[in-house]
């Protein structure tokens, strides 16, 4: 019998059990399950692995609990510079975007780069132009902003240090 499998992550960090409320744990669990279901739906119907990982990651990008797409962390200027990549194990084709702004789903843009085939990696304004050409959805910075990330950003700005997204109090110099 043909089999399939899918795994996802929503980030790693030094957050400790006592720092996650039962409500937040429940919300995270739901967000993770929704993402696995999105990928599993593709695989169950004989869809390919690239489509499955793209749909699972889009689900996570659209969930404000995780640091990607909506709910992404803020950079020093208070805006959102996003990165994503995707790779096909069958053909070795890959697509990646870095430092890209206002693209709602960066992983979908990375897949467009993979499908286009001329490049592996695009960054910055050029990557955004490519997104426009491919008809991907662009959104204002406000779309990505959440109260929790705003608070994290203000705390990090005070110390002038960078912070991994899932960190309670830990900061990296």
């Amino acid at each position: 019998m043909k089999q399939f499998a899918l795994a996802i992550h929503g980030g790693a960090g030094t957050l400790l059990p006592e720092e996650i409320t039962p409500e937040k744990q429940q919300a995270i669990d739901e967000g993770l399950r929704a993402a696995v279901s999105a990928g599993e739906a593709i695989l169950k119907n004989g869809g390919n692995a690239v489509e499955a990982v793209k749909m699972a990651v889009i689900s996570l990008e659209n969930c404000p609990l995780f640091n990607a797409g909506k709910g992404a962390v803020l950079d020093h200027e208070g805006s959102f510079e996003l990165e994503a990549s995707i790779m096909c194990g069958e053909t070795g084709e890959a697509g990646a975007v870095a430092g890209v702004r206002n693209v709602k789903n960066p992983v979908a843009l990375a897949e467009e780069v993979l499908k286009d085939g001329r490049f592996v990696m695009l960054h910055g304004e050029g990557a955004k132009d490519f997104a426009t050409e491919k008809g991907l959805e662009l959104v204002e910075d406000e779309y990505f902003l959440t109260a929790g990330r705003q608070k994290q950003w203000e705390a990090a700005r005070e110390t002038g240090e960078m912070l991994v997204d899932h960190d309670g109090e830990r900061k990296f110099g």
């Binding site: 996802i8 957050l15 990165e83 430092g99 700005r157």
Partner: protein, 134 residues
């Protein structure tokens, strides 16, 4: 950071990663998530990997490809290769974070040296499972 690895019914693997990076990052700093071989890698002959953690260490140590290379050149399992890289080499070099991995037989690796990693997985015919801490 978020990511996914998948094995489809034709036996093909794929990996994807997406992130907003580090809070308060400056100078348009980039991490490993957009770098093939560091934060994301997929090769039907070895594995699909997506990484999360403090990106600078995953870049310097080319983590995703290193795991695949140990399977390819060292004939090690996905789990053993991931444990060597994430729990030994990365820790020795100060790197914090984790990986999700999948091989062509459907073996899943969920390995992290940080306090926790948000993760979930499913296999054909099985139930979805989720976890945050060990």
């Amino acid at each position: 950071t978020v990511g996914a690895v998948a094995l489809d019914m034709d036996g093909n693997l794929a990996a994807a990663t997406s992130t907003g990076g580090l809070v308060n990052k400056q100078y348009s700093r980039l991490g490993d998530s957009a770098v093939i071989g560091a934060g994301t890698y997929a090769d039907n002959d070895t594995c699909a990997i997506s990484c999360t953690g403090y990106g600078e260490y995953f870049l310097r140590n080319v983590v995703a490809f290193d795991i695949a290379a140990r399977m390819d050149y060292g004939a090690k399992s996905l789990e053993k290769s991931a444990q060597e890289v994430v729990m030994k080499k990365l820790v020795e070099r100060g790197g914090e974070g984790g990986i999700i991995g999948l091989d062509g037989e459907g073996n899943i690796a969920l390995v992290f040296n940080s306090a926790g990693m948000y993760r979930a997985w499913v296999k054909s015919g099985g139930e979805i499972q989720t976890a945050i801490f060990e």
